[in-house]
């Protein structure tokens, strides 16, 4: 009895799990309400049909980009030392994509018809391509995650044969890395093009969005992988990281972000040269209007400039706390960019009147239900990661990758204690 009480003595982890559970429950309530009552519970309108949930979709997918990047680095470029980090990234990727799927299921008007996206094809639509790539990549991520689950103590004890099978999928890792790279390069940029091909929305209608989306996704994805690893190692003794690996990754993120800022600067600056109805107003909405705080502070200063300085400067980068802060800022900047891009294009409304084409503005603030459902999905992601750290050892960067190739070798005594 005493032992039992000792075992369940509440600690910070229980508080964390409890908080996440509460948020997930709130999200579930909101989700059920939306399924029953429909999207009229949101503050979306025919002028702004895409809101907070789309932003969460885009951000979750962008921040999952660490999976394809690191898998490509390990299996295609041969940077084997990053294999454990690729494992963490893959698991985060699977969570991210499942978050996006979950959110999307709520966001579409007919969740019962979600399968139409895979059955009825309009190959002319960018969203068709995104649907196909996301669906197939989800499959790739599941296969890439299978060996991680196969390694879990529980599965190895209970069903060693199944565990061995799952682990053996690891042999296909290089092929999966190719598939993942190919699919991700397509849809991560196509998510930007989803906006970029719409000539009805002058602020979006430009080719740069695809490039900005994929570059920011790669930076954000690697950042989240590194940040989540460091945080796990700090809060759980089941997570182990190699600081020098993460530090090198953080350095890479700094350079990618510098490239991103350069593209971002030219993308915005080129819009100032000539007046284009709707586009010019959209830009000033970002730089001077209601989104200007998000833009300057969230995206540019905190989201790019400060982390670039902190990550490229060796002294600040080597400091773990400062590095974590910088990585968190990159992640936040990616989310801010998705929010601003999605919203700014819709807030500018071009009239279609024949003799006076004007630019008008509309508004959007998410409703409580939207916040609840969004928070629920994010909480699910954090919960899934927490479980992964505790029971699947997804953040264990100390063991070499070749120890997991043969299940018989790992058959060490994990006797019932």
């Amino acid at each position: 009895m005493n032992r039992l009480r000792n075992k369940i003595r509440p600690g910070p982890i229980h508080l964390w799990i409890l908080a996440l559970s509460v948020l997930m429950a709130a999200g579930a309530v909101a989700g059920v309400m939306v399924f029953v009552k429909g999207l009229s519970l949101t503050n979306l309108s025919d002028f702004v049909p895409w809101g907070l949930w789309i932003t969460i979709d885009l951000t979750a997918i962008a921040l999952s980009a660490g999976a394809f990047t690191l898998c490509a680095a390990v299996y295609l470029l041969g940077l084997k030392q990053y294999e454990p980090l690729a494992r963490t990234a893959t698991y985060i990727g699977l969570i991210g994509y499942s978050m996006a799927m979950l959110m999307l299921l709520l966001d579409i008007g007919r969740p019962d018809r979600f399968w139409h996206g895979f059955v009825y094809w309009n190959t002319h639509s960018i969203l068709w391509e995104v649907t196909m790539c996301v669906g197939l990549y989800m499959l790739v991520l599941m296969l890439e995650t299978a060996p991680i689950i196969g390694r879990s103590e529980f599965l190895q004890q209970r069903w060693p044969k199944l565990a061995g099978r799952l682990e053996s999928i690891h042999h296909f890792a290089p092929y999966l890395a190719i598939a993942g790279l190919f699919l991700s390069l397509l849809h991560q940029s196509s998510l930007g093009a989803t906006y970029g091909v719409l000539k009805a929305r002058p602020l979006w209608y430009r080719p740069g969005l695809s490039i900005l989306f994929i570059v920011s996704a790669v930076a954000g994805g690697i950042s989240l992988t590194a940040l989540a690893s460091m945080l796990s190692a700090r809060f759980s003794n089941r997570a182990k990281v190699k600081d020098e690996l993460i530090e090198r990754l953080a350095f890479v993120v700094g350079w990618i972000m510098l490239g991103y800022l350069y593209f971002r600067f030219w993308d915005a600056f080129s819009m100032t040269y000539t007046y284009e109805p709707g586009r010019t107003e959209g830009l000033s909405l970002l730089t001077q209007g209601p989104l200007s705080f998000n833009f300057w502070v969230g995206e540019i200063i905190l989201g790019a400039v400060i982390p670039i300085v902190l990550l490229l400067n060796g002294r600040t980068r080597r400091h773990p706390e400062v590095r974590m802060l910088a990585l968190a800022l990159v992640v936040g900047g990616v989310a801010a960019y998705r929010w601003d891009t999605n919203l700014a294009g819709q807030l500018v409304v071009m009239t279609y009147l024949p003799h006076s084409i004007q630019t008008l503005f509309t508004r959007y603030t998410p409703s409580l239900i939207e916040f609840m459902a969004g928070a629920g999905v994010v909480a699910y992601g954090l919960m899934a990661f927490t479980i992964g750290v505790r029971y699947l050892r997804v953040v264990d960067h100390t063991d070499a990758h070749n120890t997991i190739s043969d299940p018989r070798i790992v058959e060490v005594g994990v006797g019932a204690d």
Partner: protein, 258 residues
């Protein structure tokens, strides 16, 4: 170890070959997707005379009744356009433009928006998943999402007509269809859309001032061809290259040269 046996160059080759194959396939499909399927002797168009329009909104009421549209939604909004020279206001009535190159059709991931050979841009309400990409893509805001189910009685019925098509369910995007059901049924029984009221979009028949006209652009004697050859006209946002099938005759064209 299996992964050590795989050569990097081979992988790069495979990736390149795969990319080339998919790109080729995409181009082939894209070329096919830009033209509507089948053939039709007709090419429907609407001509709205802004000089005659007084903004009474009868067109919209008839549309609400015949297409059983929710009062929350309008397929054919009528708005004040401007006060030219400080004079009488001019009005603009905006159905779906049934574009020659419809952005909504291009973006729909499931092909629920499609184009008939006679030019009508259609909605397959059984296929629409409610992603609302078409709403974002339409320059005319001609599309409306069913944010909630339309369950109550239709206030436009019976005064303005009776429903001729089923109500759309919650969660799909809907829009003006040029009353394709009236056209198709009319043609079947030998009527001429644009001439015979039963075979013409409900809004056209409801206009008390004859501001709305409908007809076949392929028929040189049709009323739409007659009007378009006689007077200056414009199309909404034709700068975008969408090629709208709704034409507007200028207001005040008898008073001042345009």
């Amino acid at each position: 170890m299996a992964d050590e046996k795989i050569h990097r160059r081979g992988m790069i080759k495979m990736t390149a070959a795969g990319a080339a194959a998919v790109t080729g396939l995409r181009w082939a499909r894209t070329a096919a997707a830009s033209s509507p399927e089948g053939e039709s002797p007709h090419s429907w168009a609407m001509v709205i005379d802004q000089e005659k329009c007084t903004g009474c909104g009868y067109c919209n009421l008839a549309c609400q009744a015949h297409n059983d549209v929710s009062p929350e939604i309008s397929w054919n909004v009528v708005i004040i356009e401007s006060h030219i020279d400080g004079g009488e206001p001019t009005y603009i009535s905006r159905p779906c433009m049934h574009c020659e190159q419809p952005p909504c059709k291009d973006v729909c991931p499931v092909g629920a928006s499609y184009q008939r050979a006679d030019g009508i841009v259609m909605m397959d309400y059984d296929r629409c998943i409610g992603c609302r990409y078409c709403e974002v893509a339409c320059p005319y805001f001609a599309r409306a999402f069913n944010w909630e189910a339309f369950t109550g009685p239709n206030p436009a019925v019976p005064q303005w007509g009776f429903p001729e098509v089923p109500r759309r369910p919650r969660g799909v995007v809907e829009k003006c269809s040029f009353c394709f059901h009236r056209i198709d049924r009319g043609l079947k029984v030998g009527l001429e859309p644009g001439v015979d009221r039963e075979a013409t979009p409900a809004c056209v028949g409801a206009c008390p001032l004859g501001a709305r006209n409908f007809g076949d652009l392929n028929n040189p004697d049709s009323v739409v061809n007659e009007l378009l050859s006689a007077d200056p006209y414009c199309q909404l946002r034709d700068d975008l290259g969408t090629g709208p099938r709704v034409y507007y005759l200028s207001p005040r064209r008898t008073e001042a040269p345009v």
